[in-house]
Subunit: 137 residues, 2 copies
DNA sequence: ATAAATGCAAAGCATTTGCAACCAT
DNA sequence: ATGGTTGCAAATGCTTTGCATTTAT
């Protein structure tokens, strides 16, 4: 029996991966689109987006979210770290000390560091609990 | 001479700050909007967005970008940290070792940690240089 | 054969903006 | 009085989707 939800190997998917592997510039979807078009003038942006999503879901690439569809705001001005639950979306402050010397370490590499951001992803206690009890999603 | 670009103290700005200071939930702009409406039925979403931006630019609150308007993709599957230039938008990999024991530290607080993300913000070498030379933006 | 993937165009949706009226200083 | 701020609505801009058609397996 053939597996359902099987991921096919298409030319557009291959070109997209090639393009991505050929750069260190952390490109946007649109940049990838422009590059892929050079080899396949008829690709559609939709295909690029669908493949980038599929590829990152399968761990072939990493997606880094920047900008903001859903910015969150915090009246706490002090630097602090967050935990983000990948199941319920909860975002909580972590009562964890700010790591000292971290920005200095990057500054030594020639960067002028203003601030840093550290986030942990996973399941919050509640979701981890529901998951193990086989609750619905 | 009165300063230009002075920030006024408006009722909507105050209510927005109050709402934000009254929660630990890292709300979205829309949640803030719904809350502020309870006190000021006529506020507009545009005002919420404008004020959230002003407030974070002035360091009164923190904005945490989630989701993605401008996702970036990386064929490098290994976990690694990034530097983001706030002036030119450059995003670079940092050749910096992954901090050991970090996820364990959060796990001890009851979270089920899958991964983490660490980013540094500031000026890249080029931009820092141009800035000091008084180059245009 | 058959379900996944594509191209194209039409939504979706959070966020931004133009503009006249308004109001804090 | 003056220019920052607001409300309203239209516009952006990235990303997602519906659908008929291709295409990989």
């Amino acid at each position: 029996m053939k597996p359902k939800g099987f991921v096919r190997r298409t030319r557009q998917r291959e070109v997209i991966l090639e393009v991505l592997r050929g750069t260190k510039s952390h490109p946007t979807a649109d940049w990838v689109y422009q590059e892929v078009r050079k080899a396949m003038p008829h690709v559609s942006l939709g295909t690029i987006y669908r493949n980038l999503k599929t590829l990152s879901e399968h761990g072939e690439i990493q997606e880094l979210a920047f900008g903001s569809t859903h910015s969150r705001f915090d009246a706490n001005k002090e630097i602090h770290y967050h935990f983000v639950c990948e199941r319920c979306g909860l975002i909580e402050d972590l009562d964890m000390p700010v790591i000292v010397g971290l920005e200095e370490e990057v500054a030594q590499r020639g960067y002028n560091v203003t601030t840093h951001r550290l986030e942990f992803y996973g399941l919050c206690p509640d979701c981890a609990n529901n998951e193990s009890m086989g609750k619905a999603n």
